[in-house]
């Protein structure tokens, strides 16, 4: 049984002037225990909105237009606020993008870590502090630095602190929202290695929100590629890397320069992302697709390649 299931979730934002921005348009995915799923998409694809909705952290102007989120068979969207507060951090924790702003600047790291432990668990203060120290050691930071404030850490260190904090209550699922985006490649690799080992150690499930398709091989099991609020293709990382079927996925994969491949300019996708405040007719990728046909102006079907590998396209899709 899946740990987390999302079923045709739809989310819109109500903007000033009566406009509606449809950020997420009916996405479905599931996450098993110990599994890592990547939600991949470029800016405006709705991936962060989707992630925030899993913990019901959406801003006030967001409206759920339909669909369901089930964690351990319980409905998340309709649960009372008190239940959700117990779910947060204890069951599902989050590593935010840019830990500089996500950490409270006037509180010590220790305080921010311990408060979460004390909120969710009935342990003594000493035990909570001891766990904080243990966590710091685990993410390879001197526990003495618990007494320091966020601004005293480098970017990579802050992200490690954020990871330690996310693990404080031993959650089942950790959501990483672009956890390495602002970091250097070397530090990014270090963070992924750390996450990978922590995952194995603690049997964590993870959802990785990222714009970077190229890093999936380091840490993920399966991928959902998002475009304009929809999942256009999903499957195992191998399937996406080696047998991508959706034209967007294919083109996106070809947009990365890869060392070892033939030298030369990578591919690109002409045009611009959709204006999500306007209604979409048919396939959302139509205007930028190099294989667009007249039929693409009607809704594309969801096709299954094999197993969990699915894509949303009128074309049969050849590798």
């Amino acid at each position: 049984m899946a740990l987390l299931e999302v079923d045709s979730l739809k989310i819109a934002f109500e903007l000033t002037g009566g406009k509606r921005l449809k950020a997420v348009n009916g996405i479905s995915f599931s996450l098993d225990e110990g599994e890592t799923l990547a939600l991949v998409g470029e800016s405006g694809s709705g991936k962060t909105t989707a992630a925030l909705s899993l913990m019901r952290l959406l801003p006030k102007n967001a409206v759920i237009d339909g669909g369901e989120i089930r964690y351990k068979q319980r409905d998340v969207l309709t649960a009372p606020e008190g239940m959700i507060q117990k779910l947060r951090w204890k069951e599902i924790a989050m590593i935010f993008q840019g830990a500089m702003n996500a950490l409270n600047p006037v509180l010590t790291i220790e305080k921010q870590m311990v408060e979460a432990i004390l909120l969710h668990e009935t342990v003594s203060n000493e035990a909570a502090y001891a766990r904080a120290e243990m966590l710091m050691r685990r993410v390879e930071i001197d526990p003495k630095r618990l007494k320091q404030y966020p601004h005293q850490f480098s970017g990579g260190m802050r992200q490690r602190v954020m990871i330690a904090m996310a693990l404080a209550c031993e959650p089942k699922i950790v959501i990483g929202d672009e956890p390495t985006t602002a970091l250097d490649v070397m530090v990014q690799a270090q963070i992924f290695e750390l996450l990978e080992s922590l995952k194995k150690e603690m049997g964590l499930s993870m959802i990785l929100i990222t714009h970077d398709l190229s890093i999936l091989g380091d840490i993920c099991d399966k991928v959902a590629v998002m475009y304009a609020g929809e999942i256009v293709e999903s499957g195992s990382v191998e399937a996406i890397y080696e047998d991508a079927r959706h034209p967007y996925t294919q083109k996106l994969l070809a947009a990365y320069p890869i060392i070892g491949k033939k030298r030369g300019l990578p591919d690109f996708i002409p045009g611009q992302p959709l204006d999500m405040t306007k209604p979409v007719q048919g396939c959302a990728f139509y205007s930028r697709c190099h294989k667009a046909m007249p039929i693409c102006l009607s809704r594309p079907p969801l096709r299954t390649v094999e197993g969990a590998h699915q894509f949303l396209c009128h074309l049969e899709g050849e590798a």
């Binding site: 800016s43 990014q188 398709l213 091989g217 890397y241 947009a255 060392i259």
Partner: protein, 337 residues
């Protein structure tokens, strides 16, 4: 062919603003060694990629070539077409800024939100050719916009940056550089803030401009794979020092320096490698205030020997037009099958 730009032993040292107490105590002035003795030559129409992590001094070096630092913090000589860019009086030679333009990283930040596209693109002319008539200026702006792929140029003149997409903005930035008809463009991470799907579009434009106008590029990037894709030569920088330099093929396919090897090693390969072990550098780049005595990379180098701690290694020829400060192989390297 004569070199377009030639750097000889270029250093950039920023004095650290001393605290009040330090002044009272008479502590010696501390210095950030951002760039430490770089030699580099750019030929006309050549693309050189300067690769390094943040803090490696790559952007500082780019700005030094663009004469953006006050001349007193820059040491060594920078020659443009054989002539030093600073006169003996420490002043920048006139006309230099029309030959060397810079493109900045963030297309959202490098355009003034209060200005129209016309004004943004015309800015270099407003500064450098104050007597130009309005009509002529507008004609140049339109030409530059169209060269940068924004057609028809007229339709963009009265628009504001926030009305454009990220890719279009970066094209505006490029148009603003083209308008002075430069021979060298220093491109500081020109595509790193853009969505991956449109990056190559911008890169393609830059390559086309080189073909058409013989523009040389100093391409500053943290992404060694990108450098591999577009550059003729690659220089790998660490802590203000070039550790390895040579043709893209040589540097990528037979890297001699352990740091280059580590950088290549961690680049995404678009395949599963979760179970594979790999050589991963630990720690972070040290503070450029107190430079280590020997090799700048010693503190993180898995192969650092005693000699590396004491003597500063020099770039030496390690292959055909291929230089490196050392020739150590990291273990577990599997470069380019």
């Amino acid at each position: 062919m004569d070199a377009l730009i030639e750097l000889k032993n270029v250093t950039v040292k920023f004095p650290v603003k001393p605290s009040f107490i330090d002044v009272l105590k008479g502590k010696p002035q501390r210095v950030v060694h951002a760039v430490n003795g770089v030699d580099l030559t750019v030929m006309p129409g050549e693309i050189i990629a300067l690769v390094g992590e943040s803090g490696s001094g790559k952007t500082t070096l780019g700005k030094a070539i663009n004469a953006l630092h006050p001349s007193e913090v820059v040491g060594g000589t920078i020659c443009f077409e054989g002539e030093p860019i600073f006169g003996t009086d420490g002043k920048l030679k006139p006309g230099y800024r029309e030959k060397v333009a810079m493109i900045f990283q963030d297309p959202y930040q490098s355009l003034n939100p209060k200005q129209t596209i016309e004004k943004i693109v015309a800015e270099p002319l407003m500064i450098q050719q104050k007597n130009l008539s309005r009509d002529k200026m507008r004609a140049s702006v339109v030409t530059a916009l169209e060269q940068a792929g924004l057609t028809p140029g007229e339709s963009f003149l009265n628009r504001y940056p926030h009305e454009l997409s990220g890719g279009q903005r970066q094209r505006v930035v490029i148009a603003g550089a083209l308008i002075v008809k430069p021979k060298l463009i220093i491109a500081d991470e020109p595509v790193s803030m853009l969505d991956v799907s449109i990056r190559s579009e911008i890169l393609k434009l830059l390559m086309e401009l080189r073909e058409r106008q013989q523009i040389a590029y100093l391409f500053i990037t943290h992404d060694i794979a990108l450098a591999w894709a577009i550059a003729d030569k690659i220089a790998v920088m660490y802590l203000g020092t070039i550790l390895e330099y040579g043709s893209a093929e040589n540097v990528i396919q037979s890297p001699k320096n352990p740091y280059t090897q580590a950088l290549i090693e961690i680049m995404p390969k678009m395949k599963m490698r979760r179970s594979e072990k790999r050589a991963l550098l630990t720690g972070e780049m040290p503070d450029p205030i107190d430079l280590p005595k020997g090799c700048v990379f010693q503190s993180r180098c898995p192969r650092a020997a005693d000699g590396c701690m004491h003597e500063k290694p020099k770039l030496t020829l390690v292959g055909e037009a291929h230089y490196s400060v050392c020739e150590c192989q990291l273990e577990e390297m599997r470069v380019n099958e």
